[in-house]
């Protein structure tokens, strides 16, 4: 039985992985719900950002557990699939960094056209509509109580 394809699943590992994932997912929720009070010595960083980083850090751990154990990357002799998987993140990192190099730095030399012109925000439109409705409702109510 030498050339059996893949790896043999181990139920103990599966259960442990499952528990770890639940704990980490719970951790993400707990961190996001934690109150944002100033913690001594942490005033050099925006706590919202810190929270986001911690949450995405936990998500990254979860992803590596899922890919390593459930998807079996850890058990492979050839690391090809791992390279493919990590390649994804390399390309995506490039994508976000370079696009951010544009979006984050517009208008340094020449004026940028970030200002939104000639548009009406759907949010404002909705707010106006609601304001109009409630006014109408107030005016209309005494005249037509039957409604």
């Amino acid at each position: 039985m030498e050339n059996l394809p893949g790896h043999t699943y181990d139920i103990k590992v599966l259960v442990r992985v499952y528990v770890a994932l639940l704990v980490l997912a719970g951790g993400m929720v707990v961190v996001s719900l934690a109150p944002l009070e100033n913690i001594a010595g942490l005033d050099w960083i925006d706590l919202h950002v810190l929270k986001g980083l911690v949450i995405f850090g936990l998500a990254t751990i979860m992803v590596s557990i899922v890919s390593g154990f459930l998807m079996g990357l850890r058990y492979e002799k050839s690391k090809l699939n791992t390279v493919v998987f990590l390649g994804n993140f390399a390309f995506l990192a490039l994508f976000i960094v370079f696009t951010w190099a544009d979006i984050g730095f517009r208008g340094l030399v020449y004026p940028s056209f970030e200002e939104q012109l000639n548009w009406e925000s759907p949010v404002d439109k909705a707010n106006k509509a609601h304001a109009g409705e409630s006014e109408e409702a107030e005016e209309a109510d005494p005249e037509t109580p039957a409604h």
Partner: protein, 533 residues
């Protein structure tokens, strides 16, 4: 299937129209790709011919401005998504990859036929869009113009989405085949360079095309539901759309041209009767181009309002693409040096490729310079640059490859004299058409314009005359091949004296499962017996 059936050639293994439609044989699928792609190449060419005729004179001619926009859009979409992107991998790659590796088929034969069907579905939808109005957004589908809910543009987006899927599946199939299906003794550095090129292409198809998919999907969503991600009228960022688009479409330029590198490597080695110079450099430069190709998309956006920081980074990185490209050109040239060169028809195309690609590549460097690009952006210079790459390099190498492998595919030899004559006409016609545009562009004539200043008329006329010569050459090349099907001499197993497996070990035409027995590879792909003079 009996053991006997496996040893007769793939044309005769089964008969009838249906046997082609349900086939999983990579050779038949390759031929069906070839036929479809040539059909669309002619279609796209007809569109180009029409608007070039219109541009004979500056004043409005026989077509209206709206029709003109529609024509160049159709030309772009058809040529990019239906011809050059699937072209060499779909037709030549499908046919040759297993043969060159010594495998019986691709790793996923059913997936292979699926991707052909997706190609057909995409093509039919693209043509169907003609009945829904006039697509006029250009092949780039830039927001916000593509968000104007033009039904023809919407169908075109759907078509491009499906074609992207077809491309992903082809690339996936190739990568798995190259990794897992090589014949005994076929080590990585014994693979023909065409296989290396397809490998590099596969990486780009798998990693870049999905981003095109999501871009088109977001454009569709934006059209239907106004989600406000790309549409500036809803708070979206139209430049984000361009980032998404070019993150695919710049690598797509390499999806287009890298397979051509592979074809040319085969042709030059075979017809110089010499081991290719710097095999590993050519192989790795294909992979290097793949990686660098992902880092430079922003050079399409220098004048779009992109931040100066991004401009500078992208301009800097763009220059690096020249390095692997130049390595290849130098290696091919060195291979020619002191080779026993035979100027056969395929070789004539390979030499044209070298000439055209050098111009195409160098003009690319010019465009990568920030300050120069501000002036040349959206002029005919850009048009000429990418035609020198997409048409002058890719399609020329494609035609050369078709000629080279034609005997293997069909079992017939073509007429060499007519073939050479056609190759010369193609060379003249192509350079006449696009060199004129290079000059006109450098003088500032903007592209995609319906009207132009009278001082540019002479260049437009040269260009239009050139396309007539080009068309003549292309049709001559095509008819030469078609006539050979009936009248051509029966091809021997290895008419060119090449050293790769499809010539040395497979019959002409190959049997159903390619080889009567699995070849065992003991030497590199270009090891010619040394002849002492």
């Amino acid at each position: 299937m009996s053991a006997h059936a496996e040893n007769i050639n793939y044309f005769k293994a089964s008969k009838g129209f249906m046997s082609w439609l349900v086939t999983v044989d990579h050779k038949r699928i390759g031929l069906m790709y070839l036929a479809s792609i040539l059909l669309f190449f002619i279609t796209g060419g007809v569109y180009a011919g029409l608007f070039r005729l219109e541009l004979w004179g500056p004043l409005p001619g026989f077509i209206s401005p709206d029709t003109y926009n529609h024509l160049f859009t159709m030309h772009g979409v058809i040529m990019v998504f239906l011809v050059v992107v699937p072209g060499i991998p779909g037709a030549l790659g499908n046919f040759l990859l297993p043969l060159q590796l010594g495998a019986k088929d691709l790793a996923f034969p059913k997936l292979n036929i699926t991707s052909l069907y997706l190609y057909w579905i995409g093509a039919v939808i693209a043509l169907f869009s003609l009945t829904q109005g006039r697509a006029d957004s250009g092949w780039t589908f830039y927001a916000p113009y593509s968000l104007s809910q033009n039904p023809a543009v919407l169908w075109m987006l759907v078509a491009a989405f499906i074609l992207g899927f077809s491309s992903i599946l082809t690339g996936l199939n190739f990568i798995v085949t190259i990794h897992k299906m090589r014949a005994p003794g076929m080590t990585w550095f014994r693979m023909p360079l065409f296989v290396w090129a397809l490998y590099a292409t596969g990486i780009m198809q798998v990693f870049a095309t999905p981003v095109l998919g999501i871009t088109l999907l977001l454009l569709l969503m934006e059209n239907f539901f106004r989600i406000g991600i790309f549409d500036p009228a809803l708070g979206g960022d139209p430049l984000l759309m361009q980032h998404f688009f070019w993150f695919y479409s710049h690598p797509a330029v390499y999806i287009i041209v890298v397979p051509a590198f592979g074809v040319v490597s085969e042709l030059i080695a075979t017809f110089s009767r010499k081991d290719i110079f710097g095999y590993k450099f050519i192989a790795f430069s294909s992979v290097a181009i793949t990686i660098i190709g992902f880092l430079v998309w922003g050079h399409h956006m220098f004048v779009s309002g992109q931040s100066e920081v991004a401009d500078t980074i992208f301009s800097f990185l763009t220059f690096f693409t020249a390095v692997p490209s130049a390595i290849k050109v130098f290696n091919w040239t060195t291979t020619l040096y002191q080779g026993s060169i035979k100027l056969t028809t395929p070789m004539l195309y390979a030499l044209q490729f070298l000439f055209n690609f050098t111009i195409g590549g160098l003009t690319g460097i010019v465009l990568g310079i920030l300050s120069v690009d501000i002036h040349l952006h959206d002029t005919y210079f850009v048009v000429s640059h990418f035609h020198y790459v997409a048409m002058g390099s890719t399609m020329i190498a494609f035609i050369g490859g078709i000629y080279y492998w034609w005997p293997k595919m069909t079992g017939r030899m073509f007429n060499e004299t007519w073939g050479r004559l056609a190759a010369v006409l193609v060379f003249l016609g192509f350079n006449l058409t696009f060199f004129a545009q290079l000059i006109m562009g450098s003088q500032g004539s903007p592209r995609r314009y319906y009207n132009y200043l009278t001082e540019f008329q002479i260049y437009h006329q040269i260009s239009t005359a050139g396309i007539v010569v080009l068309a003549l050459g292309l049709f001559m090349a095509l008819f030469n091949l078609l006539i050979s099907l009936k009248n051509g001499a029966i091809a021997p197993q290895n008419p060119w004296g090449a050293r790769t497996l499809e010539w040395t070990h497979a019959e002409t035409p190959p049997v159903l499962y390619n080889f009567t027995e699995t070849p065992v590879v003991t030497q590199g792909p270009y090891e010619y017996p040394t002849e002492k003079v």
